[in-house]
């Protein structure tokens, strides 16, 4: 009964429900399959359930109904620690450890995995270079000595440190100013192509969703309204998707000055 590794979804949601202990339902009958190497964007407004869905993947939350599968196995059957080390995780607030240097932050997971110091060091330097930070300059700095954009890059480097095949990103560019945001996003796109990881990104920004996603899952009030390719999304007649597309067109018209 082993799923075929080539065709099977890396991440699968099967009839997933999630309700708070108080009974409030945050996710209702979510079905979703994320293929190897694709970038799936979870798009929706605040409170639509995107972040909840993301946290179900690395078992920071557990479904109250249905199941979430990673590599064909329900997350509840995984050892949560092993599952999370298998999945990189980047959040909007970054959450760098303030008492660790940049180098120590990035090195944390490989160290926990018991990798040798010299190999970890080489890996950290490689990763910092990959996210566009000069290792010689940034390795020994503390998070409070960095700008928001630099911190976000360190967060990405840290998530990639153990070379996880899956990357989860929750509003990774949300806290950055628009210019830095565009810059970091472009670098991320280049990185995405080079690494070929399976990525799930949460955002409420339609432009970002179209730019980064190979597919877009539209969340509204705890349900998925549809899953689209960027092209399909722009031409969809599903009312919520159409509203997003319309809002984007108006923004573009404004930018063109028409």
């Amino acid at each position: 009964m082993r799923p075929d590794p080539e065709t099977a979804a890396v991440i699968g949601f099967r009839g997933v429900h999630y309700a708070l202990p108080g009974g409030q339902v945050l996710l209702r009958d979510i079905n979703l399959a994320v293929q190897r190497g694709e970038t799936l964007v979870l798009l929706g407004r605040s409170g639509a359930g995107k972040t909840t869905a993301l946290k179900l993947i690395n078992r920071l939350l557990e479904p109250t109904g249905g199941e979430v599968q990673v590599d064909g196995r329900t997350t509840l059957a995984w050892d949560p620690i092993a599952l999370r080390r298998h999945i990189g995780y980047v959040i909007q607030e970054v959450g760098l450890f303030p008492h660790y240097t940049v180098g120590e932050n990035v090195a944390l997971v490989p160290r926990l995995e018991g990798k040798s110091t010299s190999r970890v060091r080489a890996r950290v330097e490689e990763l910092l270079a990959l996210v566009g930070l000069d290792p010689a300059r940034y390795l020994g700095r503390y998070p409070h000595e960095l700008s928001g954009g630099q911190r976000q890059r360190v967060g990405v480097a840290r998530a990639l440190a153990a070379d996880p095949p899956i990357l989860l990103m929750d509003e990774p560019f949300g806290a950055l100013d628009p210019l830095t945001r565009a810059e970091v996003r472009e670098e991320f796109q280049a990185l995405q192509k080079r690494l070929g990881k399976t990525i799930v990104i949460v955002t409420h920004d339609t432009g970002e969703a179209l730019l980064l996603g190979t597919r877009i899952a539209l969340f509204e009030a705890g349900e998925i309204r549809g899953v689209y390719s960027p092209r399909e999304f722009l031409t969809s007649d599903e009312p919520v998707a159409a509203a997003y597309a319309e809002q984007l067109r108006r923004l573009e018209q404004f930018e063109r000055g028409t």
Partner: protein, 211 residues
């Protein structure tokens, strides 16, 4: 004879009392930290335990020190030796600030840091020892500092039950209506409290994590 002359005449005796005092407070603080820090972690983890634990520590804090020494007297083993009893009472007083500060230090950690730690696959033990405790160390130490200063003062009363320390001079001075004797105990005790406050605040500042 004034206090200065008394110091000049009995330096060894006063020094010995000072060491006794430091020993009483030092052991009491070690015990209080060994008990208080884990309790503080427990309070931070299980907020419903906060009321019973902090409440109990609070009650211990409100018992007048002389009465507390008296209450502990009939307790087996503890009551056998005056110093043992004094240390137990002092540790009890030191507990509240240590528990409270440990819990507050852990609670004040940026939730994003904890979420990142969990999301990266750190075990609860690794999160505690590599993230939460190092980040709250300076707050914990602030609690230890408050408790130490408090305890140095209260330890003078331990002389009433024969536990020794600088309180000996104060009680003897009171009995003999001799201010010089009172000062011979009070001045070193005050200096001790100031020195402990200074040293621990330096340590506290050096451990404050960069933010």
């Amino acid at each position: 004879m004034n206090a200065i002359q008394y110091f000049e005449r009995h330096p060894d005796e006063i020094l010995q009392a000072t060491f006794e005092h430091i020993w009483l407070v030092g052991i009491a603080m070690l015990i209080a930290a060994a008990v208080g820090v884990p309790l503080g972690i427990l309070v931070a983890r299980r907020p419903w335990l906060s009321k019973p634990i902090l409440g109990t520590a609070n009650v211990a804090e409100t018992i007048p020190s002389l009465a507390l020494f008296g209450f502990l007297l009939p307790v087996p083993w503890l009551g056998d030796r005056a110093a043992r009893l004094a240390i137990a009472a002092l540790a009890l007083y030191a507990l509240l600030p240590i528990i409270r500060n440990t819990a507050a230090g852990i609670a004040s950690i940026d939730p994003a840091v904890r979420e990142a730690a969990r999301g990266m696959g750190m075990t609860p033990r690794q999160i505690l020892f590599k993230v939460e405790l190092p980040l709250s160390l300076s707050t914990v130490l602030a609690g230890v500092r408050v408790a130490t200063v408090l305890t140095i003062g209260i330890a003078t009363i331990a002389a009433a039950i024969g536990a020794g320390g600088l309180g000996e001079y104060i009680f003897r001075g009171l009995a003999m209506v001799n201010n010089s004797l009172i000062l011979a105990g009070a001045i070193p005790a005050a200096l001790l409290a100031l020195a402990a406050d200074f040293l621990l605040s330096v340590l506290e500042r050096s451990l404050r994590p960069g933010r």
